[in-house]
Each structure stands twice: as structure tokens, then as C-alpha cells.
């Protein structure tokens, strides 16, 4: 049966196109959402949590205000999503390292190489993420709802280091785990805040190794 008017669809023709439109719309919706979250991360990294407003995020994402407020009712939601994204990316980056540590066949030297390469990449390639991450953690001083995230972050890192220290033969892996979480964050933050050059990057492996070695393991 041909349509009565050009361009007018029969009932059966109309349905599948409507469904397709809805899928495309959905896809666009997800894309827009992702754009907004990514933009939030960039904004936090560049200007801090204080700079995050729906308007600023919309501008950064290159979208209008309405999808921004539609997807994220409040600033807190934006921050939470941004943190979630950062966290997921970070976990993906550390995944291999964590798997190696969990694996029993443990080679301390290879581990040092791995950790060193990781630290260097974090400081250079993933600097934007790192800065935004620190900002969001510090925001927990002002906003109680972020404190769970801080706890989570700490515990994840703690478990990683504790297992690493236990694998190295530490007689008190718990304490050494705590020492290493704090020392690694502290030295990393200071290194990045002081500005570092190639020469300093080259010395990282040495520094990590001597820190781990200096722990009273035996």
C-alpha cells in the first residue's frame, strides 16, 4: 500500500523509525552526559572545585545549560560523578599492578619497575586527572558526603601497599602499608607541587626503592 501523501508514512513504517530515533536520542543523551562529566573533571583540574557551576560546566562542555541541569540536579551530583569517573580511570590504570601484587609469583625488582613507570605516567600523562583527584579529596574537608570517598581511596591504596609489603616479607605489613600509603602520596604531592625536571624523574625508582628498603621489615 502506498502512502496517501509523499513523505507520509504508513503505520508500520512509522514504528521502526520512531524506535531508531529514540536509540539515537538515547545515545546522544549518554554522549552529552559523558561530555558534561569530562568537562567537570577538566574544570576542576584547571580551576578547582570552587569554579564548578552548571553554567561553567556547560560552557566547558560546549553544551547548553538545560542538559547540564537535566542530567545533574545539583553541584554535588556533578562532583560525585566527576569523582566516580576519575576513580574508575585510576583503577583501570592500576589494574595490572594490583593483579601482579595479588599474584603469588612475586618479583620485587619487576615490581619496582612497574611502580616507577606508573608514578612517572601519573605525573606526566595523567596530570590533569591527578590534580582533579587531589582537589576532590580535599573538598571532603568542606563536604561530609565526600568523606566516604576519602576512606575508600585510602583503603584501596592501603590494601595494595599492605599486600606488597607482606609479599616482601614484612613482619608488620599493616603498619608498613599505612606508612607507604602516606609516604607515597606525600612524596608524590610534594614532587608535583615543587615542579620536577627529567633529572628528578630519573631518580624516582631509586627513591621508591630506598623508601621501601628502609622499612624495618625483618
Amino acid at each position: 500500500m502506498s502512502p496517501s501523501k509523499p513523505g507520509q508514512l504508513t503505520k508500520n513504517q512509522a514504528k521502526p523509525i520512531k524506535a531508531k530515533q529514540s536509540r539515537t536520542k538515547q545515545k546522544r543523551g549518554v554522549e552529552t552526559r559523558n561530555k558534561i562529566v569530562d568537562a567537570t573533571v577538566r574544570l576542576i583540574s584547571r580551576e578547582g572545585v570552587g569554579a564548578v557551576t552548571h553554567r561553567a560546566v556547560a560552557r566547558e562542555a560546549g553544551v547548553s545549560l538545560s542538559p547540564t541541569t537535566y542530567h545533574f540536579e545539583s553541584k554535588e551530583m556533578l562532583l560525585r560523578e566527576a569523582y566516580g569517573k576519575l576513580h574508575a580511570s585510576e583503577m583501570a590504570r592500576y589494574k595490572n599492578l594490583v593483579a601482579q601484587v595479588a599474584d603469588d609469583s612475586f618479583d620485587e625488582d619487576a615490581m619496582m619497575d612497574y611502580v616507577t613507570a606508573l608514578v612517572i605516567r601519573e605525573a606526566t600523562e595523567f596530570k590533569e586527572d591527578v590534580v582533579a583527584g587531589f582537589e576532590l579529596l580535599l573538598e571532603a574537608t568542606r563536604s561530609a558526603e565526600f568523606r566516604d570517598r576519602v576512606e575508600e581511596t585510602y583503603m584501596e591504596r592501603f590494601k595494595f601497599w599492605r599486600d606488597l609489603m607482606a609479599g616482601s616479607g614484612s613482619d608488620d605489613a599493616e603498619s608498613d602499608g599505612h606508612l607507604m600509603v602516606c609516604s607515597s602520596i606525600g612524596s608524590f604531592l610534594l614532587m608535583m607541587a615543587s615542579g620536577f625536571d627529567q633529572a628528578e624523574l630519573a631518580k624516582i625508582r631509586q627513591k621508591i626503592k630506598s623508601t621501601v628498603d628502609s622499612l624495618p621489615k625483618f
Binding site: 570552587g50 590534580v131 574537608t141 609516604s183 604531592l189
Partner: protein
């Protein structure tokens, strides 16, 4: 008289900047906002500190100078002479408990500045200078107490406390978790001074 007023104005501005940093972060630090907070004229803030960067750096330097003074005040020359491993650790724990753990505002402001230095290279020399001064300060005490490799050890101690304090501050802990801190410091030191027991 004028000089005295200038000093007082500067200190009002420093305190206001510290507050702003702690409350809202670097984005809240503008000449206008600080002038209002400090109860001084906009003109005087721009007179004393030409740019926002200048204001941030000078505030940071003032703040860390205050920290150092309070740390030094807790150790007179006699006590320094008698320093050994055990007394050193007690001092470090005491200072943590009385100076850092209770000064949440100062600590938050410190981290706000340091994190801003990750973005703004102009702030980095101030952080480097602080690192050197602080390592020298601790290094001198460590040397007195007979800790091996005092400068390296001081660096290691600094790394630890910067990380520890960061999580304490972020968690918004009211209690300073002295127990935890003490355990870790003792363990850190038992690794640092090999040979020669405390």
C-alpha cells in the same frame, strides 16, 4: 606609626586569605573578597600585593613561618642539646598533637596552596623553598639525635607526614588519632636509624 599600621594591615590580609583558602579554596581568593574579609580597603590589598599570585605566595610564606616559629618554641636550646632518638620521637609526636592536629584551618589552607602549585608553576618555588627549609629544620634535629643520614631521613619523615596529614584533613577528623600516628612514627624511625637504639 605608619609602619606598624602597615604590618597590621598585612597580617589582617594574611589571616583573611588563610580563612578564604580554608573555607572555599583558591578560587575564593580575590583582592576584593580578601579586602572585605580583612576589613581593609581594596586599595591597600593591591598596594601590598600586586597580583593574586603575589598574595597567595606571601600568605603561604607567612603561614609556614608561623608554623616553624611554633615548632621551634617547643624546643629550647637545652632540650636540643639533650636530644636522643627517644626524645626526638616524643617531640615530633607532641608537636603533631598540639600544632598540626588542632589547626585544621591552617592545614587545609596549606594543602589548598600546594595543590594550586600543581597548576601554577609560579607557586612552585615557594613550595620548593618550604621543602628545603623544613628538611633543614628536621635534619638538624635528627642529626643532633643521632639519626643516620639526617637529611635523607628528614625527607622521608616529611613525605610521611605530608601524606598522613592530607588524609587526616580530608577525613575531617576531630580527634588526632595520636595512637596511630605514634605507632607509625616509631616504626618509621626504627627503620631510619639502623644501629644505635633509642
Amino acid at each position: 606609626m605608619r609602619q606598624q599600621r602597615a604590618i597590621e594591615t598585612r597580617e589582617k590580609i594574611f589571616l583573611a586569605t588563610l580563612d578564604a583558602l580554608a573555607e572555599k579554596g583558591v578560587s575564593a581568593v580575590t583582592h576584593r573578597a580578601i579586602a572585605e574579609k580583612a576589613g581593609v580597603s581594596l586599595a591597600s590589598t593591591t598596594y601590598h600585593f600586586e597580583t593574586k599570585t603575589d598574595l597567595l605566595i606571601k600568605t603561604f610564606e607567612w603561614m609556614v613561618d608561623q608554623f616553624e616559629q611554633s615548632y621551634r618554641a617547643r624546643l629550647d636550646n637545652e632540650q636540643i642539646k639533650r636530644l636522643d632518638g627517644k626524645r626526638l620521637i616524643n617531640y615530633l609526636i607532641d608537636v603533631y598533637h598540639t600544632e598540626r592536629a588542632l589547626d585544621v584551618k591552617g592545614m587545609v589552607a596549606w594543602y589548598e596552596f600546594v595543590i594550586e602549585a600543581l597548576r601554577q608553576p609560579e607557586l612552585q618555588h615557594a613550595v620548593r623553598k618550604w621543602c628545603r627549609q623544613t628538611i633543614d629544620f628536621y635534619g638538624a634535629l635528627f642529626e643532633q639525635a643521632g639519626i643516620a643520614d639526617p637529611q635523607v631521613s628528614a625527607n622521608r619523615y616529611l613525605d610521611f607526614i605530608v601524606g598522613w596529614d592530607f588524609f587526616i584533613v580530608c577525613r575531617g577528623q576531630k580527634k588526632s588519632n595520636i595512637q596511630g600516628y605514634e605507632t607509625l612514627v616509631r616504626r618509621l624511625f626504627s627503620g631510619l636509624s639502623k644501629g644505635g637504639d633509642q
